[in-house]
Amino acid sequence: MVIKYLLKLFLVLIFFVSINQSKADFFKDITSLIDNNDFRLSYGVSVTDINQDNKYEFVVTGFGFSNLALSYQNGKLININKNEIFDDAKRKTIGVAACDIDQDGFEEIYFLNTDTYSGEKKYSDRLIDNSSNGFVDLFEKDINKKNLNLTAGRSVVCVDRNGNGKYGIYVANYGGPTRFYEQSSRQIQDLAEQLKINKITGGRAVVAGNILSGKTDIFAANERGKNFLYYNSDGFFQDIAKDYKVDDPFENGRGTTLSDILYRGRLDIITSNWNGYHRAFVLEDNKFKDIATPTYNIPSRIRTVISADFDNDGYDEIFMNNIGEPNKLFKIKENGFFEEINIKNAYEANGLGTGAAVADIDDDGILELLIAHGESGMQPLTMYKADIKKDFNYLRIKPLNKFGAPARGATVILRSNLRKHAKTIDAGSGYLCQMEPVAHYGIREGEKNISIDVIWTNGLLETFNVNELNKTIKIRQK
């Protein structure tokens, strides 16, 4: 009798302890939703609509493993790809970004393959177009073979440099010239030399968006070399990194993203350094100032960095994905204060994080965080979302350009009685990765009078009133 009583008491205790623990944690682990989640070497992750069903998929690269297209179907994340070229398990893919390079309203996917650490590589990259014959690699066409990228690289980013919806792809190479691919007369051409951005460096992370010029600028975080900040001047670029004090010559760049650190309606630069100080570059008097302080800037084995509002409280978090050491999460409070949030789920003390991306893949108004692992050991993917118990409100803005394609590189600004909050429509960020092309806002307590500005990639601004929350609003460029 006593034993039975004690056993019951023990079970009740266990129950309450587990409840308390789950309440205490920021994320909940939803990895079990990933179907056939095998041990593998994965790298970059992108979010795009690969089957043109108006829903986004996580595209996960494989390093000697299949590239995956993970679609949310019937409560599971399932690989829906059946195409051999897309799968490409023989090649070693690390970087990925998607954008509409041919102005047909659908995004092509650039897979950056790397079989050497630096310099010349064996296999070219792939540029996948979803044609009527299924996926084709545009680089396999004879007309494009002379322009293959045969240099080891890392990240790729989409750039609508002229603001006309015709995307080019900046390829951050390592130990060889940077490439900038655009399609012209059905031919893929490397314009890097013409645009004077064909510099040789240890290319690592790269982001593109409305940083300074009002159009799409490029920031590249490099290793063993200065960072680049390319100012867009009528579609041509000028490196102003040194003048604007973001060249960071003594650090080795990694995960980078654009974020409105001070909630003032403009994008600043969050960039991290491998075992070096992580930076929060905020524009002040025509110079960027690093406002990162401990514990945010403590050096770590950093890979991907993501800025997003996971818990829908209206303040963005910064997720730092480290490899071989625990991940970290910070909330960006007012005045640029980074408050560290202790996490248990997504902490991944022994995780070999290589890439990560966010998207509201199940369309419930809360972002999912997918983390890829690999490099020094095979590990499965993991997935988390904020464990939100209370009621919340959100707003998701999905700008589409005049061709109907995601307006990657455009800026969305939420205006209300409490903030002016800019977000980029991600053109490529984190490290090797690209987030969903949606500006996701949690709504703050007491927030009202909400309107939305969209600054398109051509620099023009349009304003929209918001009458209804908790939905995704598509905005089409005129």
Binding site: G225, K226, P249, F250, N252, N275, G276, Y277, T293, P294, T295, N297, I298, P299, E339, E340
Partner: protein, 243 residues
């Protein structure tokens, strides 16, 4: 005609000599240019025998600090050089090594100051946190005057148990700190630089305390009896730095 030729030759020789003299003077006085491509580590390795003529670098961070400060360099160069030696052990540190986030007491007001310490090994971070205090220092570099935070210990020159493993003559002139060889502030010996320093907040202190090394390991090391202290410099630096 021949005379004119001879005069021309003589003048040309004089001109040549003058030109060579100018070149030599230029190269004698030219300063090394520091940039991303400049290898600070190689430069310190090259200077090592000048810094430590008897080749004993034990606990000789102060010698590195003074040597670097005496170079006519920019503030950024000063920062980069100071990442390359361990203030506690005097050992060189490989470039791009990862610093520890630490806190130390301010020698001025007792406040906890947080910052980054480039160390050769973890025990040195522990010894530093326990036995060193920080002070602010100003210095005029080639690009202007800057203020920064330095790591200091009490003047050890009067110690009767000055560790025999350390070359006392590097630091002391009798019982006084030798300012020709080291830098001192208010009779405290400057042993190195605390990078990116700021007043600690609760979040920073918690992060240091919960870290595997600066937290748990240091607590163990810093509470062990001196005779049981192993690793790093053992008890050499501690003997020099303790009260």
């Amino acid at each position: 005609m021949r005379e004119i030729f001879n005069i021309f030759c003589k003048k040309f020789k004089a001109l040549k000599t003058f030109f060579i003299f100018l070149l030599i003077t230029f190269f004698c006085f030219i300063k090394p240019s520091y940039s991303k491509d400049f290898n600070y580590y190689d430069d310190l390795v090259k200077d090592w025998i000048k810094i430590f003529p008897d080749q004993n670098r034990n606990a000789a961070g102060p010698k590195f600090f003074k040597h670097i400060l005496d170079k006519e360099i920019t503030y950024q160069d000063f920062i980069e050089y100071n990442k390359l030696y361990c203030a506690v052990s005097g050992s060189l540190i490989s470039p791009n090594s990862r610093p520890d986030f630490v806190y130390l007491k301010s020698a001025e007001n007792g406040e906890k100051i947080c910052g980054f310490y480039h160390k050769c090994c973890f025990p040195c971070s522990c010894d530093l946190m326990k036995y060193s205090q920080v002070k602010n220092m100003k210095y005029k570099f080639s690009d202007g005057e800057k203020e920064f935070t330095v790591l200091t210990i009490k003047n050890p020159c009067g110690k009767k148990d000055f560790p025999r493993e350390v070359n006392r003559n590097y630091f002391c002139n009798g019982e006084v700190l030798d300012n020709n060889q080291v830098v001192s502030i208010d009779n405290r010996l400057v042993i190195g630089l605390l990078h990116n320093s700021s007043k600690c907040n609760e979040q920073s202190i918690a992060a240091i305390d919960k870290d595997e090394y600066t937290g748990a390991y240091c607590e163990l090391r810093n509470n062990a009896p001196l005779e049981q202290v192993q690793g790093g410099m053992g008890d050499i630096f501690i003997k020099m730095a303790r009260d």
